[in-house]
């Protein structure tokens, strides 16, 4: 499996993602410029990553303008053909604005930019320590959509404490139902606010990000 990492104007986690995938996970990585549209070097077994940052200055709404870049048209086609797509932080916001994932990311409920380690867990995983860094990470969708996400097992990660207890107390942004990450119904598009690429190296004293890539089947 090889990876493509899209670089938008204002992306700032693109090199971190490249470094983590190449050096910590040993993957082939091709950087993809937002103005290009050729992704013919990827098959649907590969994965395109939309990294964190502030694409197009977060103008209008986070991710709203990035959705129209030439590369995103190719990524949307790729996702609709079953290709794997992972959006982290701003990448998650772009996936929601592109309608590849349901819902939206609102400004954090406590009005502050949150930059710290938090714990998240998948349904059958232990608590994993992963950094967050966002001002607009409060996942929101209508009740009907949320119930659908639950029924189809589309909620990938929820905020919890170090013991894996999921509770609003451990939720860093006010996201509904403690949602930190979701996938689409087909299971090939993943979005999450925490940054697994910042936790894949012994040097950073945290390897839990590697487990996130494993859970997503991107290892």
């Amino acid at each position: 499996m090889k990876f493509g990492v899209v670089v938008f104007p204002g992306s700032n986690c693109d090199r971190d993602m490249q470094d983590a995938l190449q050096n910590d996970l040993g993957k082939e990585v091709i950087m993809l410029w937002h103005k290009d549209e050729d992704i013919s070097m990827f098959s649907t077994d590969d994965c395109i990553v939309l990294p964190g940052g502030f694409s197009y200055g977060d103008y209008l709404r986070c991710g709203a303008i990035a959705r129209f870049s030439p590369m995103m048209q190719s990524v949307i086609d790729f996702a609709n053909k079953g290709g794997k797509v992972l959006g982290v932080c701003n990448g998650f916001q772009i996936l929601c604005e592109s309608h590849l994932l349901p819902g939206v990311l609102l400004q954090n409920g406590h009005q502050q930019f949150a930059c710290k380690n938090v714990f998240i867990k998948a349904d059958n995983s232990q608590a994993l320590k992963i950094p967050i860094a966002h001002g607009d990470g409060r996942y929101y969708a209508g009740e009907k959509v949320l119930d659908e996400l639950e029924t189809n097992n589309q909620i990938l990660f929820r905020y919890c404490n170090e013991l894996g207890v999921v509770d609003m107390k451990y939720n860093p942004n006010g996201a509904v139902r403690n949602i930190a990450g979701i996938r689409n119904k087909q299971g090939n598009v993943f979005g999450m606010m925490p940054h697994p690429e910042r936790a894949t190296s012994k040097l950073l004293n945290n390897m839990d990000g590697k487990k996130i890539f494993e859970i997503l089947g991107l290892n």
Partner: protein, 82 residues
Amino acid sequence: MTFNVQIKVMPLKDLLDPQGKAVLGGLKNLGITSIEDVRVGKHITLQIEAATENEAKAIAEEASKKLLANPIMEFYEIEMIN
């Protein structure tokens, strides 16, 4: 003909608006204490070239629906200026 159109985009009434809350805190700090709630939205102006006012309104409607507002979190109101 050119039509001037104003679009008001506001966070949905049920949703917490942290920006509005922060501004409310600021107003209280200034001693303006009788304001009970603040909500902050966007004001967008468009100049639209169209044959009739109805056509201009339809264009503004499409722009609002497809990009200017996100219906999951916002509602919009369109006002024709001339």
